[in-house]
């Protein structure tokens, strides 16, 4: 039976629409399953004004056999088989004659019971009950109230269309009753119209200027763009975020192509495309990666026959480009090097000083990192870029277009004639801004990106600014993800705790919290980010935990460890080895640290194990040192038979204390060795599942 729900609202932001649809999908499936309404199909679609669910579901709850237990058989029936007062009373309470009772075997013995088939409620009744709570429970990045209501939603709700098999599912929420009507395009055809089915709804909206399916809107936009740009042999300057926003925001897509004066082409592409995107949501048009004096806009309109829309946008854009050019040219008159004093006035964080202070710190950390990762050739470039990278914060251009920070600095550096590598490093030092974004392409930019981000994280944690679920004012999570991404993308191997020591030392007494605590917090924080990244890469959570167990001495090695575990997890030795490792850990748990004295090794099995371990240790060191955890594990796994023989023949917990300590010491050596490769105690294997 077809179910259709439309929540009609005033314009919701794209991320709200996404959040609302995801929760409706998930919530409705969950609630209907709980209410025993089978759902054959369910999907969502919508626009900035409509959250729509379409489903195919059963007409009613599945019928349910129910058994009501009454008195015990011994109580219910006399020895001659005649019903007692208890049986008669029970039958009466069930509304049946005593002959309808049956004997039921329970844990406590034989009882009388009454079996009945309960007819379910209809899906309509269920939905009427579910929907008000489901709608009120939707959460959005930001909610609001309106009118005199206490109800909260993304934006004010204007109506509910809710049909099941063509009939209205009655409910009330946000002071509104559900019905069978909706309205067309807000400007072009706002009159209400009645709907009987989804097809009716889709077609009715289409007639009234609204394309309800987001994918259809996306293809319509792209097809129109293609037909506008083909004659020019040009393309859109790609901007997936902008496209997503327009697909969500526009019910009736109409692509327009406009132009601007060629004079503005002297401005950098980044500046032009930012000026177009911000405010007017226009796309840059490029040919061979060069900006053409055109823009593409997507209007929410049926057409632009009189070219009023395109002309209006051209007028507004001209003003914006004029401003951009004014700022660009004005800013170029003051060389970056002269801007350092102004940077002293810009506070990075109250307790952490100005951006000039930050610049001095990241210069030192940049130089340190270049040495540590062997990027000696890039050092001069990176340090020079560090000196310049924050200066664009005091330009008018970045005041006007804050999203250009970093990139603007790179553009100014290039225009001023700094070496191309320096300009590039400045340009890309904010990257990556998320896991989807790319890391800096050059080594100097990568190092600078790391230094800047780690400086922020250490400093902010160091003065005790709390980062909680929704509050992350300095973007620490994004910064830490950026650090991990750069390290992993570039396969950088260096001691991370020592980098933290360096940054902490450079901060000196600016940080109010004890250095040890800050460092521990940083390591925890990064472990959390790495876990997120590895799980997103598709690694099993227990393998991720195992790989993070040895600690964050080297961030890149953590990836190599999880990869090695993932590769070996299918080998036949894997499970026995894990179980063996767990056994080792279990035995030495709570035992004081002990040293091995070879002279005290009494039995052959333990002497064998000791010599295997000694050889193994020598072999493993270089493998671990170069991050070859695959081979290290393979080698490590070879100890399994010797270890098995040891457990077989030798009693670790010997009566004699010296022998016992010696054996514990031997196992502790093995445990230490294992922990350099992975924390195997975190791995979940078949053999132990379900046993707790």
């Amino acid at each position: 039976m077809e179910f259709l729900l439309e929540i009609l609202a005033e314009e919701m932001p794209p991320d709200h629409v996404r959040a609302g649809l995801d929760q409706l999908d998930e919530g409705l499936r969950r609630e209907l399953a709980a209410a025993r309404i089978p759902v054959a199909a369910l999907r969502t679609c919508g626009t900035c004004r409509r959250l729509v669910v379409l489903a195919d579901m059963a007409e009613a709850q599945e019928t349910q056999d129910k058994l009501v237990i009454g008195p015990s058989k011994a109580v219910a029936f006399a020895p001659d088989g005649s019903p007692t007062a208890a049986a008669l009373g029970f039958a009466r309470s069930q509304g049946v004659g005593v002959e309808a009772l049956e004997t039921v075997m329970t844990e406590k013995g034989e009882y009388v019971g009454r079996r009945k088939t309960e007819r379910g409620k209809t899906a309509g009744e269920i939905l009427s009950g579910i929907l008000p709570g489901l709608i009120a429970g939707l959460s959005f990045p930001k909610t609001m109230r309106w009118g005199g209501l206490a109800f909260r939603f993304s934006r004010p709700i204007q109506g509910f269309l809710c049909l099941l098999g063509g009939a209205v599912v009655p409910f009330e929420a946000a002071g509104l009753r559900s019905g069978d009507t909706t309205t067309g395009h807000k400007i072009h055809d706002p009159r209400p119209f009645a709907v009987r089915s989804f097809e009716d709804y889709r077609a009715g909206l289409a007639e009234r200027g609204v394309v309800i399916d987001p994918e259809a809107r996306r293809s319509a936009i792209l097809a129109q763009v293609e037909s506008r740009l083909q004659p020019l042999g040009a393309k859109l300057h790609p901007d997936p975020n902008l496209l997503d926003k327009l697909v969500s925001d526009i019910e009736s897509p109409c692509v327009v192509l406009g132009s601007f004066a060629k004079d503005y082409l002297t401005l950098p592409l980044e500046l032009l495309s930012t000026a177009m995107r911000e405010g007017q949501h226009l796309f840059s048009v490029v040919k061979d990666k060069k900006q053409l004096p055109y823009f593409v806009g997507v209007a929410d309109a049926r057409g632009d026959a009189a070219s009023l829309i395109v002309k209006g946008n051209e007028r507004v854009l001209r003003a914006r480009l004029e401003d951009a050019r004014f700022f660009w040219e004005q800013d170029l008159r003051t060389p970056l090097s002269k801007r350092a004093p102004a940077l002293k006035q810009v506070v990075f964080q109250e307790k952490l000083g100005s951006y000039e202070d930050k610049t001095q710190r990241i210069k030192k950390v940049t130089a340190y990192l270049c040495d540590k990762i062997g990027a000696v050739q890039a050092k001069e470039t990176a340090v020079q870029a560090a000196e310049l990278c924050k200066l664009d914060l005091v330009t008018e251009l970045v005041r006007e277009f804050p999203s250009l920070q970093g990139r603007a600095g790179g553009l100014f550096a290039r225009a001023e004639g700094f070496p191309a590598a320096v300009a590039q490093a400045v340009y890309e030092h904010y990257r990556p801004v998320g896991l989807e974004d790319e890391s800096p392409a050059g080594p100097a930019g990568a190092v600078l990106s790391l230094a800047d981000k780690v400086d922020t994280i250490v400093g902010v944690l160091g003065v005790g600014v709390q980062t909680t679920g929704s509050s992350d004012p300095f973007g620490l999570r994004r910064n830490a993800l950026g650090v991990c991404k750069v390290v992993l993308d570039r396969k950088l191997s260096f001691s991370f705790p020592r980098l933290l020591d360096k940054v902490l030392a450079v901060y000196g007494d600016r940080l109010s919290r004890p250095v040890r605590e800050v460092k521990a917090d940083c390591l925890d924080f990064f472990a959390g980010r790495l876990r997120h990244i590895f799980e997103r890469m598709g690694f099993r959570y227990d393998l991720v935990n195992a790989a993070l167990g040895p600690g964050l001495e080297d961030l890149y090695f953590a990836l190599l460890r999880v990869k090695a575990l993932d590769k070996l997890k299918a080998s036949p030795q894997f499970e026995p080895m894990i179980l063996m490792a767990k056994r080792v850990n279990n035995i030495i748990r709570n035992q004081p640290a002990a040293k091995v004295n070879p002279d005290l090794l009494a039995e052959k099995a333990e002497r064998d194990l000791h010599s295997s371990v000694t050889i193994l240790e020598g072999n493993l060191r270089p493998m671990i040192g170069r991050g070859d955890f695959g081979q290290a594990q393979t080698v490590l796994f070879r100890i399994q038979p010797t270890l098995a023989a040891f457990f077989d023949k030798v009693l670790v917990m010997a009566e004699e204390k010296k022998l016992r300590q010696n054996r514990v010491g031997l196992l502790q050596t093995i445990a230490r060795l294992l922990l350099e490769v992975a924390d195997y105690s975190q791995v979940v294997v078949e053999g132990e599942k379900g046993s707790g």
């Binding site: 930001k142 609001m144 009118g147 934006r155 400007i187 706002p190 007017q280 929410d300 209006g312």
Partner: protein
């Protein structure tokens, strides 16, 4: 012949008074936005219904361009509408106000684009949109959620038209100074000299040391008036603080830390005023 700026004002006044709004007059102090005037600030705090419309000249000293920029001015005109509680068809009423100006919306692209407004100085924020007409921002449309640090209930809706922007759209002109103020006078005639002289004053001549003293005086006065429960005069002093702050900002005489501190100082008095004006749960 398209309508002049004064026609536009009269047309909006006619439209919104037709919707039951009281026509108030511009407030006689420098403010950064129509939102800051007492007809909005105090009237949104209590539970009583309120419908008002008025023009408010608004000063943004940093936007001055010596009369040389065709779009930016240090003083512009806002047309402010406040309706409490927000009516369920307020978007339609707004759209019809544009139609009443003679704009054929079938020929244009009208969009409500996410833009949440906040004014830390008066402890206010709201949720809404900037309304874009063919790419031009003509209106800020906001459902107030808080003002003076208080949750507002019922929720007022604020519609703020940027009159020069809208007039440039109506006249299809590229230069603000070319706008027809009336049939006989241009925007240039009325405003050019003012823009030029005030830009110089705002950016170069305003005496920083005296302004700092003025700020301290007004803040002090505001605090002592609050103690005497003279809330409207106290609020006037806060508005003066706010304007002096904007002038100091235009003089680039405020560091980032000072900025945060000064805003917090004004907000502290303003939220105090709001609390006293509308004690929680009571109809003021």
């Amino acid at each position: 012949m398209s309508m002049s700026l004064q026609d536009l004002i009269m047309s909006l006044q006619r439209y919104w008074t037709g919707q039951g709004c009281t026509l108030a007059q511009p407030y006689d102090l420098e403010v950064g936005a129509g939102t800051m005037t007492p007809d909005t600030f105090f009237r949104v705090l209590d539970r009583r219904p309120w419908r008002v419309a008025y023009v408010q000249p608004s000063r943004r000293p940093t936007d001055g361009r010596y009369g040389e920029n065709p779009h930016r001015v240090q003083k512009h005109l806002q047309f402010q509408v406040i309706i409490k509680p927000s009516p369920s068809d307020i978007q339609r009423l707004y759209i019809e106000s544009l139609v009443a100006l003679g704009i054929d919306l079938a020929e244009h692209d009208l969009r409500f684009d996410e833009d949440n407004w906040e004014s830390p100085t008066i402890g206010a924020w709201g949720v809404g949109w900037q309304v874009m007409l063919d790419g031009l921002e003509i209106t800020q449309f906001t459902y107030f959620q808080q003002s003076g640090g208080l949750d507002l209930s019922p929720v007022p809706v604020e519609i703020t038209y940027g009159l020069e922007r809208l007039e440039m759209f109506l006249e299809r002109k590229d230069d603000i100074y070319d706008l027809d103020w009336s049939a006989d006078a241009t925007y240039r005639d009325l405003r050019f000299r003012e823009e030029k002289e005030f830009s110089d004053y705002n950016f170069n001549q305003a005496d920083v040391a005296k302004l700092h003293k003025l700020f301290a005086f007004a803040e002090d006065e505001a605090r002592s008036l609050v103690q005497k429960n003279l809330l409207l005069p106290a609020y006037d002093q806060c508005l003066k603080c706010s304007h002096v702050f904007n002038l100091l900002d235009a003089r680039r005489a405020i560091s980032v830390t000072e900025r945060v501190k000064m805003i917090a100082q004004i907000r502290a008095v303003v939220t105090d005023i709001a609390r006293r004006y509308a004690p929680a749960g009571e109809d003021a």
